[in-house]
Symmetry: C2
Subunit: 81 residues, 2 copies
């Protein structure tokens, strides 16, 4: 059956996030001085054919490790909907 899963990819905490830095600076300029820090990540919503939730989760975790995330600098989390 057709299932949906989400993969959330974030830079590891030790990796500098220049995009997040720029967003934080822009928010400060716009008057949001209460912002302490911003980190940016991406996510993928994957629709796939799978037998059950466990199969879908395993399959999508494999895709995440192979293509969607760079395991050297990024970590990911898979959520089956």
């Amino acid at each position: 059956m057709t299932m949906r899963a989400r993969v959330y990819v974030t830079l590891k905490p030790s990796v500098f996030d220049p995009q997040g830095r720029v967003v934080a600076d822009a928010l400060h300029t716009l008057g949001y001085g209460d912002v302490r820090d911003v980190r940016q990540g991406k996510f993928f919503e994957v629709e796939l054919e799978a037998d059950d939730r466990a199969a879908a989760e395993a399959r999508v975790a494999e895709m995440a490790g192979t293509l969607l995330a760079n395991p050297v600098i990024e970590s990911y989390r898979v959520e089956v909907l």
Copy 2:
């Protein structure tokens, strides 16, 4: 106190997502023929000073509508952690 919130930004369903298309094609090429569709989005983890959860949520929703998302083609969801 310091609170954390996440903003998830996605293209509206009617908007074509070329990045997601490319990822889906790449997954097919890698042998993941069970993938039907992929849509890509981004998220922001915002750390801010706020009095309580409700205040943090309102404040971050305002940032999302102003800077983090483009309301013409994107929708967003705020989650206070």
